[in-house]
Amino acid sequence: MAIRWLDRNETCLLPPEVRKKTFKEYDLGYTINQLLDECDRCIFCRDYDKRCKAGCPVGNDIPVFIDHVEKGDLIGAYKVLLKTNPFPAITGRVCPQERLCEGSCILTYDTVRKKKNKGLAVGIGAIERFIGDAIRISGIEIDEEIKPDTGKKVAIIGAGPGGLTAAYYLRKEGHEVHVFDALPYIGGVMMYGIPPERLDRSVLEWEEKRLRKMGIKFHLGVLVGRSITLYDLYKDFDAIILATGSGRGKMMGIPGEDLNGVYTAIEFLTRVNMMKAYKFPESATPVKLGKRTAVIGGGFTAVDCVLDAIRLGVETHLVYRRTRETSSARDVEWDHVAEEGAILHWLTQPIEIIGDENGNVKGLKCVKMQLVEDPNGGRPRPKPIEGSEHIIEVDSVIFAVGQDANPTAYEGVKEIQTNKWNNVDVDDHFRTSWKGVFAVGDLVNGGDTVVRAIAHGRKAAQYCHEYLTTGEWPENWEAHPKPWTL
């Protein structure tokens, strides 16, 4: 049969004019016929473990679930996914697949011969999402196999993807699992960061129900380090998994950051996505961008701020000191926000926020940049162009320039070794320097992806289970030198 190199099915998006006015999801996913047709494009590589599977941080058995779909067995496909990933409806939506599984699909790139191929990858993300959604809306409740109670108790701190995944796999082993989070909702960044137009909250709600039904206990509104300490938990539990992320907001240290109308991305997104400021005044939490706003940054988070700001009806400027090609967000995402009316300023570096006489933001002073070769052979570096100062007139500014460590849970706990970024050191089994305490997710690598946190959560659950069963812990614990490769 001829290989279908190029006729990839693309998901249907709401048109820009419609989607920019709603916080509803704009990517509608595959129809059933697209799903079946796309599955037909997979050529079932025998060495798929060196290809799509190797590109997937959780190691999903991609052609195996595709095969189940083709045979008319969505439930079977879902069960294949659950072995490696408890939340396919989430990852199917939020993963940067073009860099992961799809980037290693033979149709687009031959990972074995290390050369580009002429085709477009199988739409793995959209297939995965379909499978998760199909089960979610089918009304079928998949019974999770849970082993008999072991009598062991595990405390998981942080209800983001890393913590939830560890909870899922540890509960399946029969342990009593308690998840603590400071915030009143589960999900971590998936709740307060990633906006509902990219990840509908009904998905998170459904996943929460599943986890509760398995008997996982949630304790929301407990700030470890203040409400209770890690020592309290250490006393009462047989093992602890730290999954508190690395999500503290950050600014640049330029003049004017204490003016009114200056937000970190995390504040802005939390107001809108978690506290539902888009429903103000029915929802009591306000957000106030004025008529025009500037979002500073070039990654995931910047895109999300732009999406939300546009949906609030605000004229939105994106300001980034590098080029579109060198930004870390996906190219199509810039296309999407540009179609929605965002004004993109590339090679533009903010140097000062200008305030009016009342201390409110009235503009963002910037300089234009040019990219110059790095003499050491690194990424080309942006350099200011002399005399290019200009002011973008805006009423508010949102800093999406990265996140810092959030060490409240383990600050001052001398048993836990941290690194120079104040994140937690682990060895190759996700063990921290303190016996019985593991760490996963952004907390370990300083910030990566949902799927990476899920991968950590699953592996750590396995190692934690081994520890609970054998009590073994290494005599000479050593920190992994490159935690971002875990």
Binding site: K235, G249, T270, P281, E282, T285
Partner: protein, 304 residues
């Protein structure tokens, strides 16, 4: 912060168990949540999100009762969150979420003579600190200040604990007690008893600002509750950032009591005012649209 009881035995759903009105807008509310009742230290607060649609409102813990598993807060109902609390909740009703105890405990040490000045709800905030400082061997004096009589709280509680002569009351409209505000309270104290070793303040930012000018000038140590805006109250969002000297401090995890002489009060006052128009709109929406609807719903439920 460490507790003798097991963590799991302290976790439960937060519930209002008592509500007592003490002035036209002032209410003491008693909330059941054993974790807070057992673990709270003087100076810590809780964050209350009363309903799914409510904002997250920080509230100082005024008192705790570990045996009953309850703690109390002083609610001066002036914005949407506080009005929601007193209008929608009565005995036995569950709150959507309460996070806490939050914030750094107040540094209870032996300072010598301490004057605690509370403006409005701040008198409640200072209450557990006054007790702890007295227990630590300090000479404790209390000034309760309010715009007018209806903003004077905890007068009898303080007097009972410390004696009449240790407690003075001020109103800015001279309706009750002595006339004057927070600075007057400090100056009178100095005239009578000399300079205190420490001033503790809680209340609105503009009063904190005036008081800090006086303590700075006189060289008196000042620990003040900084009523900054807050959102996540867990050290993520930086909404609560306050300039203290040349440092940026996250008030939700490092405060709420900070070095009052170093705090950039102008910026606090100014930034806390950013949403005033929206807050007004939000309160009006609640009173005119939501509250009647919710009341009708409740009545219907009760009739059934």
């Amino acid at each position: 912060m460490a507790t003798e009881k097991s963590v799991l035995s302290l976790l439960d759903k937060p519930k209002v168990v008592g509500k007592k009105q003490v002035s036209p807008r002032g209410y003491f509310m008693e909330i059941y949540l054993p974790l807070v009742a057992n673990n709270a230290k003087p100076g810590q607060f809780v964050t209350i999100q009363a309903t799914e649609m409510s904002a997250r409102q920080p509230m100082q813990i005024v008192d705790t009762n570990p045996e009953k598993g309850t703690f109390s807060i002083l609610v001066e109902a002036y914005n949407r969150s506080t009005v929601e609390l007193v209008e929608l909740f009565s005995e036995g009703e569950e709150l959507f979420n309460v996070e806490g105890p939050n914030g750094k405990p107040f540094p209870v040490e032996k300072y010598g003579t301490v004057l605690l000045i509370g403006h409005g709800w701040g008198a409640g905030a200072n209450y557990p600190i006054a007790k702890a400082l007295a227990d630590a061997g300090n000479e404790v004096y209390i000034a309760i200040v309010g715009g007018s009589r209806e903003n004077i709280y905890c007068e009898s509680e303080y007097k009972q604990l410390f004696g009449e002569d240790k407690v003075s009351v001020y109103t800015e409209d001279d309706e009750y007690g002595k006339e004057g505000g927070v600075v007057q309270a400090l100056e009178d104290f100095i005239n009578e008893k000399g300079q205190p070793d420490l001033v503790v303040f809680a209340g609105g930012a503009s009063h904190g600002e005036m008081l800090a000018e006086a303590t700075k000038e006189k060289g008196i140590k000042n620990l003040s509750l900084v009523p900054s805006l807050m959102l996540c109250t867990s050290g993520l969002c930086l909404t609560c950032r306050v300039k203290v000297g040349d440092k940026m401090v996250m008030n939700c995890i490092e405060g709420p009591y900070l070095d009052g002489n170093q705090v950039d009060w102008k910026n606090v006052t100014f930034r806390t005012g950013y949403y005033w128009d929206l807050e007004k709109e939000s309160l009006e929406y609640f009173l005119n649209k939501l509250l009647p609807k919710l009341k009708r719903k409740k009545e219907k439920k009760q009739n059934q």
